[in-house]
């Protein structure tokens, strides 16, 4: 692997950067592998990377129906944080955040993790109580979190409207200072390059058409690039989990719904933190390029169309301008939708399936990006050992039958 460094960049600049190799190979699929991961998003690529790195398994293929990182990895608002209420979630997301903190160096790919702080706003007495509850619980889990007064919020976001006459007055909030944003594409590409370097075949434009099973195990996958067999299979296909599960013959507690986001035209830096508000369903941050990135809530109907309804955007915009009236004359440059897997308890599903050699990782809802390395890490354990990682065990598929849900509805700025 040609190392990425300032020195190398300088040296290669002298011959017009002709010396850079492919970031990852484009191999043709073999007929069989030890492990096949379906889904070349961040989670799938991370899973393959950690399988190779932590368990020494290299005979792995990652199958991607389009281009890697092209699903929710490439269409999210890039927020990273671990301030979750329940212990189970907190531990999982904190593992992920810790991995993120070292990821640029580990992958030798700058993912531009910017730990600028994630603020959650409270607009009513009951939301302030919720903030207290969360901060108290999060701190007990050893994760940084603080309650903020309105004045503290103002000092972090000078343009915020603190007027008590606001329809959504700001009574306070919380901050996780280690939270922030990262460059989403870089996470996918960095994992791909590192996984490829460990011998993993990343196979793009390879769609799974059918799943061949017998005696409770998956035998092979029929794909657009031929039949591919493996000893074990992992499905990590956010947005299409139900479709693939149906091909394998089981059902999931998932609804696919559109989640919209948009960016403004680039502006000089004016917004230095990540801001979320659950009541008004909006989250904001400013990208390094200067675009203001705004995320909305989900559209409340099933869709695989990667677009949502204008009414959701209109509501999000009126809430945003209520918080930041001076943004009124900014302009939306691009808006898009993505398909998210919504679970009944707003927590993911990681673990075994009714088929003995098939493992599934899905249901991350609106918040999968922040979990990318952690999700790959525990899922790799699951696939390699056949048993769930202890941090992932609570997120098994059978929690629904047992009634052991992990209700994180309040965790995102989005109420599902």
């Amino acid at each position: 692997m040609t190392r990425y460094s300032a020195l190398n960049l300088f040296q290669k600049s002298r011959d017009g950067h002709k010396g850079w190799p492919e970031a990852w190979r484009k191999p043709a699929p073999k007929s069989s592998y030890d492990i096949v991961i379906v889904g070349g998003g961040g989670h799938g690529l991370a899973t393959a990377y950690y399988l190779a790195k932590n368990y020494g398994i290299n005979n792995i293929a990652v199958l991607e129906k389009g281009w890697i990182g092209g699903g929710n990895t490439g269409r999210n608002t890039t927020i990273i944080r671990s301030n979750y209420l329940w212990n189970e979630s907190a531990h999982l997301y904190e593992l992920s955040l810790k991995l993120y903190e070292k990821l640029s160096q580990e992958l030798n790919f700058n993912i531009m993790l910017s730990q600028r702080g994630v603020i959650n706003l409270a607009h009513s007495q009951s939301e302030m109580h919720e903030v207290t509850r969360r901060v108290s619980a999060i701190r007990l889990n050893g994760i940084d979190s603080e309650v903020l007064t309105p004045d503290q919020i103002k000092s972090l976001i000078p343009i915020i409207n603190l007027s008590s006459k606001s329809r959504y007055p700001i009574l306070g909030g919380s901050i996780q200072r280690r939270g922030g944003v990262a460059r989403h594409d870089a996470v996918a590409w960095g994992f791909a390059r590192a996984a490829d370097n460990l011998g993993i075949d990343i196979i793009e434009n390879c769609e799974v058409l059918s799943v061949s099973t017998s005696n409770g195990i998956v035998r092979s996958l029929e794909t657009t690039r031929g039949c591919i067999g493996a000893k074990k299979f992992g499905f990590v296909v956010s947005g299409h989990s139900s479709v693939l599960a149906e091909k394998a013959g089981f059902r999931l507690p998932i609804c696919s719904q559109p989640l919209q986001a948009l960016v403004s035209e680039p502006l000089k830096p004016f917004f230095d933190v990540v801001l979320m508000s659950g009541t008004v369903h909006v989250y904001l941050s400013q990208s390094d390029k200067g675009e203001l990135v705004l995320g909305a809530g989900t559209d409340k109907y099933n869709s695989y169309s990667q677009r949502g309804s204008l009414s959701v955007i209109e509501e999000m915009m009126s809430a945003s301008l209520e918080l930041f009236p001076i943004l009124s004359r900014l302009k939306v440059m691009r808006m898009w939708g993505r398909i998210v897997d919504i679970c009944p308890d707003a927590s993911p599903i990681i673990g075994n399936t009714p088929l003995r050699n098939l493992y599934i990782n899905c249901g991350w809802g609106t918040g999968g990006f922040k979990a990318t390395p952690g999700s790959g890490y525990v899922f790799a354990h699951n696939i390699a050992t056949g048993e769930p990682h202890n941090l992932a065990a609570p997120f098994s598929l059978d929690r629904f039958a047992k009634g052991k849900l992990i209700d994180e509805h309040g965790a995102a700025a989005v109420a599902h």
Binding site: G16, R133, L140, E314, S320, L321, R329, G403
Partner: protein, 998 residues
């Protein structure tokens, strides 16, 4: 008035008798009414208008419409300061102030232009490869990266303008007011269809505006204005100018953004600045034309290099010819028309290159004697520093030109016009779900499949012949009209003359350069060059989406309108895959950027969300209540007297209730009437406890679960008559519960004969609570017996109060003798005032939500949303006994699942902390959990109890009921917040309920 050196006499459609003064980068210029900022600047010879995003290279106006990637300016001051406006789409007005964005200290001397010298260090994606050491330095690197990035600045003051929204329904929406769009509008409107026509520019006519073309022997300008007035005279036809279609959503829902131009555009008064039209149309016709694309060669970004169509437009619309010595380069017939136009305004044409071997009709021969015409050639390199000085040409080999370096012959010029072919403008049709395919004939994308009820005409359909366009448009309109039920097709002929059609285009994707670090710009806005494409390919970012994201090509404010097809063509050459197989990136809305304010419209301030107030609001306000937002409601939180603190007020209010009597506005409670023979059965299924055995005149408390077994609401339901019941819900869940029951009734149990009506706001609820409540009621009750024996707890009575029928319920949420008087809302205010005056002798005290919650916490009563959070079962909060055992109710089956019957469930208990601790604090116990870090529960409610004089709390604690008597520790949200506490029963006050039953 200063002379405008590039203004051409006699041409254009500007009002030369109406000069307008404006300021650009601190200097004052004069333009004319009808000018855009771009045309006025060019008329004044201002060539340098901005700097590029990454290398800060000097840039000039390149296009004249929404496609221009360069001329982004900050316009206006104070609250009207607007970042990233296009000079090309901004109409000038008196006093307009504009300045270039992203330059420092000035446009001419921009410090970051140094980036250009070190550009070899900043290839595509350089940031992924560096800034990693030392790891802790990233925030510093990032600080400087952010500072360098971005364009305009956020205004410092609130926007004084407002934005409107309007919904309309039409038979036909036509987007684009060029000839094709106008013909379609004219015919369909004449046929009686309801038609709306939108065009983004200030004038209709599109690319033929003010040209030499004639229609039905009228000059095109005259024809356009005649058609326009005719359309405006038809009642059901609406023509919107300065209106851009930005979003095409499902089922022909199209969003148009109209810019509203007022004469006093800089007045300090509030004005409507934009209007968002939400159009639902049976059919939509896109006549969105085509966008010209540039050619890619060394220094093709120099100021003075422009699109040919832009120059044509400048001449015809604004009478501006932005150069004196003009070179022309292209690959299609449009360059010859341009040469004629330029000649007509007296420009000296220095050279013309046509990359084709042969022109369509040997047009080149006509010019051969006047200036050098290079057939089979393309520009190789432009020269100049802050503007173009000369250009060299070289031969084209298949579809790339090859740089010759040595033999390059420089030809001096001050303007270079480019035409690299035309791209049908397909953004909106692609948003609508149309698919596109690459057409080698025009070397661009055409629409391949079009969704139902959407149509494409004119250049947008790849049709560059005007007469043919008209006849095809007529056919399409015929079809639409028929579909809309009109059979008579108006017999109108549109005969055009003088229009030249555009035939095949031979692409010249780029000029091969021998230099390693070339400056052949593909995306001018984001400074993406051919060598960036090379690098992207080399590193394997070959899929069009990877390519876009890696190089950032097409990701600027113009979204690559003129860049994307060239980028694709070059990528296709580099990886040797045809453009069709590579495909496009996804077209996303909006077509052009939309203002945040326009999307929010009037939904700001008090209109951001409905404000709900009770019928007693005026009294609360007059009594100086402090209000609390509860959902959409404004509820009195407490009533401070004489500058009391909240704590003092709550203390006083609570004591008054416990000692004598208080009065409370409970009108926000949800109230649902259930009428019908099966209402009792419905309630049995909705509540966890039985209801059909409730006697008329009685009330019962019940809990509602979702089918997952988790508590979602609670409240008291009363039997009003045999078949009429009144259910109450919590304030926050009133409408949710109502619709939820409606869903069960309609979808699951339609056999139940019950009718639901929400009566929440029909009835106001005034609660009087305290030992003197009966004494107050006595004075209202007339001869109704309200004694304890005749009107016991959990019963209700009709009492005529001052002749008005009121329903009085004896229920209590404070633990005191309490009556909830329900009265039609219009009488609520006067009843409240009467009670206040009757109660004077008992010192009746109004109390707010904070006191209510304090009083109920003393009694250990739960509040849904405090003691429950969607993961709490009835048994967790101590109501396991209430559940029916053998009968089904919603949630019943879920409550027998494995994890629900385990011992570690959170259970509601009382807590006696040493000092007050905030709600939400976590409960720890070494003894119980074996760890001083492991939370065993949390505080759900916490108050300083006025009745007991000590802090009390409620909490949900794992296995809590068996831990009563244990000592625990409570940890708040900061290290300093830690108190010891004891677990006790959840009822702190009057555990036997004696005070309820007096």
């Amino acid at each position: 008035m200063k002379k405008q050196p590039f203004r051409v006499e006699g041409l254009g459609d500007i009002e030369r008798n109406r000069p307008i003064m404006f300021t650009f980068n601190g200097k004052t210029y004069t333009g004319f009414k009808g000018d855009t900022l771009a045309s006025a600047l060019l008329a004044n010879g201002v060539i340098l208008v901005g700097r590029s995003f990454k290398y800060h290279r000097p840039r000039g106006i390149f296009g004249v419409g929404v496609d221009d990637p360069n001329a982004l300016v900050q316009i206006g001051v104070h609250g009207r300061s607007t970042p990233n406006e296009r000079a090309t789409t901004t109409e000038i007005f008196e006093g307009l102030i504009a300045k270039s964005v992203n330059v420092w200290p000035s446009l001419r001397y921009d410090i970051l232009a140094i980036n250009n010298s070190f550009s070899s260090m900043f290839p595509a994606g350089f940031y992924y490869k560096t800034f990693m050491w030392p790891a802790s330095f990233w925030p510093i690197y990032e600080y400087f990266i952010r500072k360098a990035a971005g364009l305009g600045t956020v205004p410092k003051f609130e926007d004084p303008d407002t934005y409107e929204k309007k919904y309309v329904h039409y038979d036909l929406l036509i987007v684009g007011g060029g000839i094709a769009g106008l013909v379609a509008a004219h015919v369909s409107a004449k046929a009686g269809n309801r038609v709306i026509l939108a065009d983004e520019r200030a004038n209709l006519g599109g690319s033929k505006f003010n040209s030499e073309v004639t229609i039905n022997n009228k000059p095109v300008k005259k024809w356009v204005s005649d058609i326009e007035s005719e359309l405006e005279s038809i009642g059901d036809c609406m023509v919107l100018k300065r209106t851009t279609a930005v979003i095409h959503s499902d089922h022909n829902f199209v969003v148009l953004r109209e810019k509203i131009i007022k004469p006093n555009n800089h007045s300090s008064h509030t004005m409507i600045s934009q209007r968002l039209w939400k159009v639902r149309a049976k059919s939509v016709i896109y006549a969105t034309g085509a966008l010209e694309r540039p050619m890619v060669f060394q220094n093709n970004d120099l100021p003075g290099v422009m699109l040919g169509s832009a120059v044509t437009d400048l001449i015809h619309r604004y009478g501006v010819c932005p150069g004196k010595n003009v070179a022309i380069a292209g690959n299609n017939a449009s360059i010859y028309t341009l040469a004629e136009d330029l000649k007509a305004c007296g420009a000296n044409i220095v050279a013309l290159s046509d990359s084709r071997k042969k022109s369509d009709n040997n047009e080149n021969l006509a010019f051969d004697s006047e200036f050098p015409v290079f057939m089979g050639q393309a520009p190789i390199c432009a020269f100049g520093k802050k503007k173009i000085r000369s250009v060299s040409f070289g031969p084209v080999n298949i579809d790339t030109a090859i740089s010759q370096n040595k033999d390059d012959k420089k030809i001096d010029c001050d303007l270079l016009c480019l035409s690299g072919g035309y791209d049908p403008n397909l953004n909106l049709i692609a948003q609508a779900g149309g698919s596109v395919s690459f057409d080698t004939e025009v070397s661009s994308f055409n629409c391949q499949s079009i969704p139902k009820d959407i149509f494409l005409i004119g250049a947008a359909a790849g049709n560059f012949d005007l007469q043919d366009t008209i006849s095809k448009s007529l056919n399409i309109v015929k079809k639409i009209i028929k579909q809309n039920g009109t059979s008579v097709f108006p017999d109108i002929v549109y005969q055009t003359k003088g229009s030249k059609s555009l035939n095949a285009v031979s692409p010249v994707w780029y000029v091969q350069s021998k230099k390693s670090n070339n400056k052949q710009f593909v995306d001018l806005h984001n400074d993406v060059t051919v060598s960036d494409i090379d690098l992207s390919v080399r590193e394997g970012y070959k899929s069009i989406e990877h390519f876009k994201r890696y190089t950032t090509s097409g990701m600027g404010p113009d979204q690559g309108k003129i860049a994307n097809v060239n980028a694709l063509g070059i990528l296709s050459k580099k990886i040797d895959i045809n453009p069709q197989s590579i495909g496009t990136t996804r077209f996303r809305p909006p077509y052009t950027p939309i203002t945040f304010g326009a999307l929010a419209g009037r939904d700001l301030g008090d209109l951001a969300e409905p404000i709900r107030i009770t019928a007693l609001n005026v009294w609360h306000q007059e009594s100086k209540a402090v209000f609390e937002n509860v959902g959409q409601w404004k509820r009195p939180w407490y009533y401070p007297k004489n500058e009391e603190t909240m704590e003092a007020a709550v203390n006083r209010e609570c004591k008054a209730v416990r000692k004598s009597v208080g009065i409370f506005d409970a009108s926000t409670l949800g109230k649902i009437e259930l009428v019908g023979p099966d209402a009792g059965e419905l309630l049995n299924r909705i509540y966890i406890n039985r209801f059909d055995d409730l006697k008329v005149g009685s009330c019962r408390y019940g809990i509602i679960c979702g089918d997952d077994g988790m508590v979602i609401d609670d409240g008291v339901t009363s039997r009003l008559e045999d078949k009429r019941w009144l259910m109450t819900t919590t304030t926050g869940n009133a409408s949710k519960v109502f619709h939820w029951i409606d869903e069960w009734l309609q979808c699951e149990w339609p056999e139940l004969d019950v009718f639901l009506t929400s009566v929440s706001s029909h009835w106001s609820t005034i609660t009087i609570a305290g030992s003197n409540a009966r004494n107050v009621l006595l004075e209202l009750a007339g001869d109704v017996d309200v004694s304890n024996s005749s009107f016991p707890h959990h019963t209700w009575k009709i009492i005529k109060i001052f002749g008005v029928v009121a329903r009085v319920f004896r229920v209590s949420f404070t633990g005191e003798l309490s009556y909830e008087i329900n009265i039609p809302s219009r009488y609520a205010h006067s009843l409240w005032e009467s009670i206040i005056s009757i109660g004077e002798r008992y010192d009746i005290t109004p109390f707010g939500t904070e006191s209510l919650h304090t009083l109920r916490a003393e009694k250990g009563y739960i509040v849904v949303g405090h003691e429950t959070d969607g993961s709490v079962t009835p048994d967790d909060i101590g109501f396991g006994w209430m559940m029916r055992k053998r009968k089904d109710f919603i949630g019943h089956r879920s409550l027998s699942r494995e994890s629900i019957i385990g011992e570690k469930r959170p259970q509601l208990v009382g807590l006696l902390p040493e000092t007050y601790i905030p709600e939400g604090a976590q409960v720890l116990s070494d003894e119980i959990s074996g760890s001083d870090k492991q939370s065993i529960g949390h505080v759900t409610s916490s108050y300083n109890s006025p009745s007991l004089g000590i802090p009390i709390a409620l909490g949900l604690i794992q296995g809590g009921r068996s831990l009563i008597g244990s000592n625990i520790r409570i940890i708040g949200p900061s290290n300093s917040m830690s108190v010891n506490a004891k677990i006790v029963s959840h009822c702190f006050y009057d555990p036997n309920g004696d005070r309820l039953n007096v």
